[in-house]
């Protein structure tokens, strides 16, 4: 810095105000003194300067000239640096030894200055280094008052090496950071960035320049900016910071990132930070996906059973909270009544498509905040708030029913599905989530049992009934297992006075230990619900075979004058369709020592129609061996007459509903619509070569008509009620003769 700007120099005696300490030492020293202390101090300082590691030169030039300053004294280190003896340096022009970089020399009178030079050694080496020039302040009484003096301290080349090493280290770090795959940011001042590496620029899809300064902050999501700025405030205060936040890149994508900031301080410069930015979007997405899968049904995207139970548990744990939370919450379980048909008939893909569509519709029937879940199978559960009264329940249930009822298009077919809904209100419930779901299931069952396509609210009544039902089922199961279910036999006779017993129909009867006789309708329904029908059928078959075998044996032994031709046993479509049914029948028959023709399997028309192919195969197989087959309740099903001729059937049993209306008077024995239908059925059977049995004959009138039509066998109270084993034996003892007697109304049996 050439300070010749100032006229006559600045002329102040005092050195610059910033060096008060030196001023004192300078001011206090008495030069040219002869006392020991002063001399000692002078000598000590001179010696120190001579021996110091740093190259030092004392230079001067006369005042008021423009000459170049010359060396007056050099220390050993300077001599070493320049490669000559110290005294050889004296009188040399400074600029010969230390070539300044830039015009002019840099010696200032008023303050020390520092400038870059090339040090030229005697060997011709040029070392780029720096010089600090200390002016010697003027003072009267010092030798050399006609010259200005300076001490030049040459920055040691070793320092330079250290500086070069430092610079190299910085370069290496910068290179490392620049090429690192981890996005890295370096701060400037405050929250401004001075540098970002390529990886960060890539992450943001922007050139580095746009991200420096405060540019990067504009790409932090608005919601997150406050948190980021607070993190920066913390790191500038010296704390390490880790925060998760979101950035929007140039493409507009939101990326989740983890930002790690470390404080970095430069003494005399200020505080800043270095940070890394890790893109964790994919990892989070994966974790979310797993969490999602754990809580959602993958087919429909609805919450699964786990999520449902969690939601219910939360709601149940909030008793008496602020309104809207846990109050007036209703749970609706929606069961598709005929889903199995769809699945079996059209295949599982069609079934899936139906479920997805229903899920979609159900989601639209609820409000935001309500849940629609698919715990499994063809069940959906709605958890709805705002079920304050029955009207609200009704409205919601209606909406659901309508949603399901609307036709569903699958594979070009329009399906009409029907749902049964069970409703449980959470008000004041203190049970577990699982119990709520179970209760909803009970309510669904009730709705189904009442015919389906409706909703049932689980109240105490319903719950009690359900409990009773469950208990009964358990009892039935036990009864079956322990032989508590008995078999009664109703004779099938050739009409006449007396009538002659031809065969028997085996009917199951159950007397509950506490409740007494359970009506067959009831316990068969129970059996159906509990999937006990095959077991029931098998039991009846086994007992019937055993009994028949006994009677045959007795007959053969002469103990009984007669024995029935065969025993008819009812079998359900379920039993027929089960694997191994035919084999089971054979086993039981042969175990009893009976011939296939000793058994007749009675299948209802509706059962046959419901699973025609399966039933037909089994029946054909058994019939081929000699077993008889009869269609029960004929006329009540939907079988097409076209099938009839191909069915493996021996005789038809005309349903009691046709017999009931037969009259002899009025229209006469040959008139009346009922009679016409009956006549048609008989004719049909005849034409097809089938036998015919009329069921439910209770009056002489009916008997007269049916016989008149040519029916060769009848069954009904007119001739006999179902008899116990003992009762039947009596009949057999009487040679199988029965006398018709009109029915006397009996008190209705106790209902369970």
């Amino acid at each position: 810095m050439n300070s010749t700007m100032w006229p006559h120099g600045r002329g102040r005696q005092e050195p610059p105000w910033t060096e008060p300490v030196l001023n004192e030492a300078w001011r206090g020293h008495h030069f040219g003194g002869s006392d020991d202390s002063t001399l000692g101090v002078d000598a000590a300082l001179l010696h120190f300067a001579s021996a110091a590691d740093q190259p030092l030169l004392v230079v001067s030039r006369p005042q008021e000239t423009t000459e170049i300053a010359r060396v007056r004294w050099a220390n050993t280190a300077a001599a070493d640096l320049f490669g000559v003896d110290a005294h050889h340096l004296v009188d040399l022009a400074v600029t010969r030894l230390l070539e300044p970089q830039g015009p002019g020399e840099r010696l200032a009178r008023e303050r020390r200055s520092r400038y870059a030079v090339d040090a030229v050694t005697s060997g011709g080496d040029v070392r780029h280094t720096e010089v600090v020039a200390w002016p010697v302040p003027e003072r009267a009484g010092i030798a050399g008052r006609s010259e200005h003096f300076w001490v030049l301290a040459i920055v040691l080349p070793e320092d330079e090496r250290a500086q070069a090493a430092l610079r190299a280290a910085e370069e290496r770090f910068a290179t490392l950071a620049q090429s690192s795959p981890v996005p890295t940011i370096v701060s400037d001042v405050g929250a401004r960035l001075s540098r970002v590496n390529d990886a960060f620029a890539q992450l943001m899809g922007l050139p580095a320049e746009e991200l420096c300064g405060t540019g990067w902050l504009t790409h932090v999501l608005d919601d997150e900016r406050v948190g980021v700025v607070e993190g920066i405030a913390k790191v500038l205060a010296g704390e390490k910071v880790v925060l998760d936040t979101r950035l929007r890149n140039a493409a507009g994508q939101v990326r989740w990132v983890t930002v790690r900031l470390a404080p970095s301080r430069t003494p005399g410069y200020g505080a800043g930070f270095i940070g890394t930015v890790e893109d964790v979007t994919d990892r989070l997405a994966r974790e979310h996906r797993l969490a999602y899968q754990a809580q959602h049904d993958l087919l429909t995207g609805l919450p699964n059973r786990l999520a449902l139970l969690e939601r219910l548990a939360d709601l149940l744990a909030l008793p008496g909270q602020a309104p809207g939370q846990g109050e007036n919450v209703g749970v609706l379980m929606v069961d598709l009544d005929d889903f199995k048909t769809v699945n079996d008939g059209l295949g599982p893909e069609a079934g899936d498509a139906v479920l997805v569509e229903i899920a979609r519709r159900l989601a639209r029937t609820v409000r935001t905040g309500d849940m629609v879940a698919r715990p499994g199978g063809d069940e959906f559960v709605l958890v709805c708030a705002d079920m304050a009264d029955l009207d609200a329940v009704q409205a919601t249930a209606r909406r659901v029913l309508d949603a399901v009822l609307a036709p569903v298009e699958v594979n070009g077919l329009r399906l009409r599905l029907v749902a049964s809904i069970g409703v449980v209100l959470l008000d004041g419930l203190t049970c577990s989530a699982e119990e709520v779901v179970r209760d909803a299931g009970i309510a669904v069952h009730e709705a189904k049992a009442a015919g389906g396509g409706r909703w049932t609210l689980l109240d105490e009544d319903v719950r009690q009934r359900a409990r009773r039902s469950l208990r009964l089922v358990a009892d039935l199961r036990e009864a079956l297992a322990t032989g508590g279910v008995d078999v009664h036999y109703q004779p099938i006779v050739r009409p006449g006075r007396p009538a002659q017993l031809l065969s028997l129909e085996a009917l199951c009867r159950w007397t509950h230990p506490e409740l007494g006789p359970i009506p067959p309708q009831s316990f068969i329904e129970l059996a159906e619900r509990a999937n006990l029908v095959p077991a029931l059928d098998a039991h009846v078959l086994a007992v019937a075979c055993r009994d028949l075998a006994d009677w045959r044996a007795a007959h053969a032994a002469g103990e009984l004058p007669t024995s029935p031709d065969y025993v008819a046993v009812n079998v359900s479509a379920v039993s027929l369709a089960a694997d191994g049914f035919a084999a089971g029948v054979r086993r039981v028959m042969s175990a009893a020592g009976l011939h296939p023709s000793d058994i007749c399997l009675e299948v209802t028309e509706t059962a046959l129609a419901s699973d025609l192919r399966a039933c037909r195969t089994v029946l054909e197989e058994l019939r081929a061996e000699g077993t008889r087959v009869a269609i029960d309740d004929f006329g009540t099903g939907y079988s097409s007459l076209a099938y009839l001729k191909d069915l493996p059937v021996d005789h038809l049993k005309v349903d009691r509903s046709f017999v009931r209306d037969l009259r002899t008077d009025g229209d006469g024995p040959s008139g009346g619509p009922a009679r016409a239908v009956a006549a048609a059925v008989v004719s049909l059977a005849r034409t097809l070569g089938l036998g015919i049995v009329a069921e439910g004959v209770e009056t002489f009138e009916q008997d007269a008509v049916i016989t008149d039509l040519g029916c060769e066998a009848v069954q009904g109270y007119l001739y006999s009620r179902p008899l116990t084993r003992q009762g039947l034996v009596e009949v057999l003892r009487a040679g199988g003769e029965l006398h018709p007697q009109p029915v006397v109304p009996t008190p209705r049996e106790v209902t369970a």
Binding site: M1, M5, V189, A191, A271
Partner: protein, 281 residues
């Protein structure tokens, strides 16, 4: 502009001798009037000081502290509203800028004289612009900012020490180049040189004061000086559209092109506007 030659004899025209003498005296006197600012300057360069100690020193000058706090809360530093303590404010704006603000305070720029109306506009524009060029020229943006802020410091000193003539020169000069020529004629030196001398006298780091000295001197200039040069040029282009612009390629020895300079106009103007408001209130 003639380069003063080596030697004691001043080449300054006779009329300016007195002015320069006054400036010289002012450089010594002013610190006494704002001792805290002076201490801040000394401490800001010291290896021993940290934000806490500097913040503590700073807080003894409420006006200066207020300025630093306002600046720290500006959008420029990205921490808007979160800075309430002086030590933290020092951290946020950086030592260099704190030092520049202290120098401005010391030079009596708390109240900008009428002759220097628009001082802060120009200075802040220069500072922001200089910081923009820093990465391109591989130098530190905070240094460029803080030096840019002080480029026109010399004008304040000249107004103070030549109260009649200098304001007239300011008013009459059509653009900066005319002003520089007039300054040279009258004082034998330009105001940026005066700024540099002031910084040197007040013990700023050598490279900073040297950079200022090189701004309006042709020839070799450090990257920092080039940043400030370009900052000055951009500030002039923004504030004085009628002035014929100087070539950026020439000013930066080919490192920066005119197109680059012009592309920064809008951003720099916007950024500077907020800062000017904070610093001149």
């Amino acid at each position: 502009m003639s380069e003063p030659t080596v030697g004691n004899v001043s080449t300054a025209p006779p009329g300016a001798v007195e002015v320069l003498g006054r400036i010289s005296a002012a450089l010594d006197d002013l610190p006494a009037h704002r001792p805290v600012a002076a201490k801040v300057i000394a401490e800001a360069d010291s290896m021993k000081s940290d934000a806490k100690s500097l913040g503590r020193t700073l807080s003894y000058d409420p006006a200066l502290t207020a300025k630093v706090l306002r600046l720290a809360n500006s959008a420029y530093f990205g921490l808007s509203g979160r800075v309430s303590q002086p030590p933290f404010a020092v951290t946020v704006v950086g030592f260099a800028t704190v030092r520049s603000l202290a120098v401005s305070a010391m030079a009596g720029l708390d109240e900008v004289p009428e002759a220097l109306a628009g001082f802060w506009d120009r200075s802040v524009l220069t500072a922001v612009a200089a910081a923009e060029f820093a990465p391109r020229l591989r130098t530190q943006a905070p240094d460029a900012f803080s030096v840019g802020l002080l480029a026109r410091l010399g004008q304040a000193l000249l107004v103070r020490c030549d109260p009649v003539e200098y304001p007239r020169m300011l008013a009459e000069a059509a653009d900066r180049e005319e002003l520089l020529a007039a300054e040279n004629r009258r004082y034998g030196a330009v105001h940026t040189r005066v700024s540099a001398e002031a910084l040197a006298a007040w013990a700023f780091p050598d490279d900073l004061s040297q950079a200022l000295a090189q701004v309006d001197r042709p020839g070799f200039s450090t990257p920092l000086a080039t940043c400030v040069r370009l900052g000055v040029e951009l500030s002039e282009r923004i504030l004085d559209p009628a002035r014929p612009p100087r070539s950026a390629e020439q000013l930066s020895a080919g490192h920066v092109r005119d197109a680059e300079v012009d592309s920064l106009r809008a951003g720099v103007t916007r950024t500077a506007a907020e800062l000017v408001q904070l610093l001149s209130s």
